[in-house]
């Protein structure tokens, strides 16, 4: 299904290394599994901290997919994207955790079922 577009190399060593490398498909399966676990966590868990962590998990699943593809196509753009995603994720955590602190101060709980002030 995936067609690696490596430059054909004459060295047998390189070909040998390639044959021993973990195939891209396996990374993608792992990435998908992590993503689904993260999404399920966001949907199922009620605790805001857990939801935040699950989102992190989803982001990292995407990161894994990015680098896997980057290696597969020999294109560094994927890795560059990952760096950006990590930066944004860090900022997001900072803001998210700050929100958690304030939320806990106000509601004395982090259960998202109780944070429904904006409802009609």
């Amino acid at each position: 299904m995936l067609q690696p577009i490596h430059q054909p190399t004459p060295h047998s060593r390189t070909r040998e290394l390639e044959s021993r490398m973990i195939p891209t498909e396996q990374y993608l399966v792992l990435s998908a599994a992590l993503f689904v676990i993260g999404a399920a966590g966001v949907l199922i868990r009620r605790n805001a901290i857990f939801m935040l962590m699950s989102i992190e998990l989803m982001l990292n699943a995407v990161n894994l997919a990015f680098v896997a593809f980057a290696r597969n196509w020999g294109d560094l753009a994927g890795q560059a994207f990952v760096l950006f995603v990590m930066t944004v994720a860090a900022a997001e955590v900072a803001v998210g955790l700050a929100l958690m602190v304030v939320l806990f101060r106000v509601k004395n709980t982090l259960d998202t079922d109780h944070t429904d002030l904006l409802r009609w």
């Binding site: 966001v42 949907l43 009620r46 805001a48 079922d113 002030l117 409802r119 009609w120």
Partner: protein, 631 residues
């Protein structure tokens, strides 16, 4: 020369601007500014008049292009021909005198300078009406004088008037005039769609093209004229207009503004000449009004009311003349009437002023000795109004009746002659009740009268002279035809209309003199000679029978109230209640619209659970859906 006529309306307009802006500071000086503006306009009018009469022909001037839109192009242009020159003289001369008189009459009024501002604005608008060289400029002046009339009728807006306030009278005048103005406006539009221009001279040169619509246009113009000139069916506002200060009644509601309808018909003589139906409508409306208003005047007890009905009646005579095609005689009566009716109103104003605002003639009497100047000038005015021989009113009214007879309108002629008899009766009844006999009230008995000063009596004397002398510009039996020749230049006699022969004219004159004499003698019998007890019994008697009908003015106001005012008010109220309250407010628009969006919002609000989980779920499902779409 050309631009000097533009200053004629501009001078009073400047007077208005100064008085309305700085009047409070100017105080008494504001009156002199107003008088100076009018005197200047008069001086310029004399120049324009003598130029036109001197045979220079019509003077035109174009100030600027007023509006250009597509095919429509209207200039702010003025035209002085023989008709408008005569009107200019009347308006500025009588207007100046009334301005001077107002200095005395309005003395001490809290809104003194405002009064002169309005008078100046009125004069400016009236002069624009007279001078306009096209229908739209004339219409602007027409509306402007209507506005000033409204402002001045309601000038003492806090004062009660006949069970209501002067504001109601002002509003009535305004609304009734609007009905007429509607007709005028439609006529203007019809003229424009037919010939594509609004300039009088241009329309006149294309009058053949107007043949098809001439009847419609002239009937609509007639509707406008009946509104402004207080003819049947729109005369009801003029008696109520007496709520205004008396100089206003003299200037606007007797001498100038109300004659605008006559002037407008004379201006459109070329149209009325090719629309015989409209012309006879004018004659019959005039004759009906002349007769009808005279009957009401027979019995009224308010000095200004009597004069108001006589004004309506006299305007009827002018309508007869212009309808019969004798435009010169209509304008002749307009000129003489301006003098003697202004004189009578100002005299009545002097009496009212002297008696501290008493207007009921049953409470007057015996003022002959106390107000001699007012008495003698009033008698001259009354003589002219009733058509006593050798006064101006005699010549002009007899001219009208003779020309009406010559044009074959025998019915209107008979009504006019009967009206003349009644005019004589009520005019002299007014004189006898006001000035003769014994005083019939405390105020009239007491010596505490406001005797009018020179500023009021000099205009009276000048107008009294005018009430006799203006008649000699046109004399019967072809002794003088100066006036009809002059007017004939711009509004000639209708084709086929001839002066009656001398023998016919003699007989007609004898009939009308006999009618007038009968009226005067009857008035003298009833109100002049008898003792004051007998008069007191006569005037205090409750009217019954036909006089009750006349006393209640033929119930015209009541009929209009029932037939027009109340249905309109009723339907307006129903429209408000049904359409506005129910349909707009409670029904479709406000309530229905609100309900629709409220219920939509209510159902949509279920999406807003406020639970983070459900949002996250929607997010995931939505993303999955998008991914499925893309793949």
């Amino acid at each position: 020369m050309d631009n000097s006529i533009a200053w004629i309306p501009v001078l009073p307009l400047i007077g208005f601007a100064v008085n309305i802006l700085f009047g409070v500071r100017l105080k008494a000086a504001s009156a002199w500014i107003a008088v100076a503006a009018m005197a200047g306009a008069f001086a310029l009018s004399v120049g324009a008049f003598s130029a036109v009469v001197g045979g220079e022909g019509p003077i035109t001037t174009k100030l600027f292009s007023w509006m250009v839109a597509g095919r429509l192009s209207v200039d702010m242009g003025f035209l002085v021909d023989e008709c408008s020159a005569i009107m200019l003289m009347v308006v500025t001369f009588v207007g100046s005198l009334i301005h001077v008189y107002s200095i005395g009459y309005m003395h001490g009024d809290p809104r003194y300078s405002r009064f002169f501002a309005y008078l100046n604005l009125f004069a400016a608008m009236m002069l624009i009406l007279v001078l306009g060289d096209n229908y739209l400029v004339m219409f602007m002046g027409w509306e402007g004088v209507g506005l000033c009339s409204y402002l001045l009728i309601g000038f003492w807006f806090e004062k009660p008037f006949e069970g209501a306030t002067t504001r109601e009278a002002a509003r009535k005048a305004f609304v009734v005039n609007r009905i007429g103005d509607f007709g005028f406006l439609i006529a203007i539009l019809l003229v424009w769609t037919t010939v594509g221009t609004l300039n009088f001279q241009a329309v006149m040169s294309q009058s053949e093209a107007m043949t098809g619509v001439a009847t419609a246009v002239t009937l609509l113009l007639l509707l406008g004229a009946t509104g402004k000139s207080a003819q049947i069916p729109l005369f009801v506002w003029l008696p109520d207009a007496m709520a205004g200060p008396t100089p206003v009644s003299a200037l606007i509601h007797a001498a100038t503004m109300v004659t605008a309808g006559v002037y407008m018909i004379a201006r459109n003589a070329f149209l009325f000449d090719i629309a015989p139906i409209s012309a006879s409508a004018v004659v019959w409306i005039g004759a009906g009004t002349a007769f009808f208003a005279a009957t009401i005047g027979l019995i009224q007890n308010d000095i200004k009311k009597v004069l108001a009905y006589s004004t309506i009646s006299q305007l009827g005579y002018m309508f007869i003349a212009v309808g019969a095609g004798a435009y010169a005689f209509g304008l002749f009566h307009l000129v003489t009437h301006a003098f003697f009716k202004a004189l009578l109103f100002l005299g009545a104003g002097a009496v009212i002023h002297a008696l501290h605002d008493e207007q009921d003639i049953t409470k007057m009497g015996g003022l002959r000795k106390k107000l001699p100047v007012v008495y003698w000038t009033f008698v001259i005015g009354a003589a002219a109004l009733s058509g006593i021989p050798f006064t101006a009113g005699f010549f002009s009214k007899d001219g009208i009746l003779a020309m009406t007879f010559a044009s074959g309108n025998y019915g209107p002629w008979a009504l006019g002659v009967l009206g003349a008899g009644m005019t004589a009766f009520y005019t002299w009844r007014l004189v006898f009740l006001t000035f003769h006999g014994e005083p019939r009230s405390e105020m009239a008995k007491s010596g505490d009268l406001h005797v009018p000063g020179l500023v009021m009596t000099i205009p009276l004397m000048i107008l009294a002279a005018g009430s006799i002398l203006t008649g000699y510009v046109e004399l019967p039996f072809h002794m003088s035809t100066w006036f009809s020749h002059l007017i004939g230049e711009s509004a000639p006699l209708r084709t086929g209309l001839e002066h009656p022969s001398a023998s016919v004219e003699t007989i007609l004159m004898a009939i009308s003199i006999a009618m007038v004499a009968t009226g005067v003698v009857l008035a003298w019998k009833k109100y002049g000679a008898p003792s004051s007890e007998a008069i007191e019994a006569t005037v205090s008697k409750q009217p019954a029978g036909i006089s009750k009908v006349l006393w209640d003015k033929w119930y015209v106001d009541e009929v209009y109230n029932a037939a027009v005012v109340r249905p309109v008010v009723w339907s307006a109220q129903k429209c408000w209640r049904i359409f506005d309250d129910w349909v707009i407010h409670n029904g479709l628009v406000v309530f229905g619209g609100g309900l629709l969006w409220k219920s939509v919002g209510f159902f949509l609000s279920f999406w807003q659970t406020g639970k983070t989980g459900s949002y996250a779920f929607a997010l995931v499902v939505g993303t999955a859906f998008l991914v499925w779409l893309v793949l």
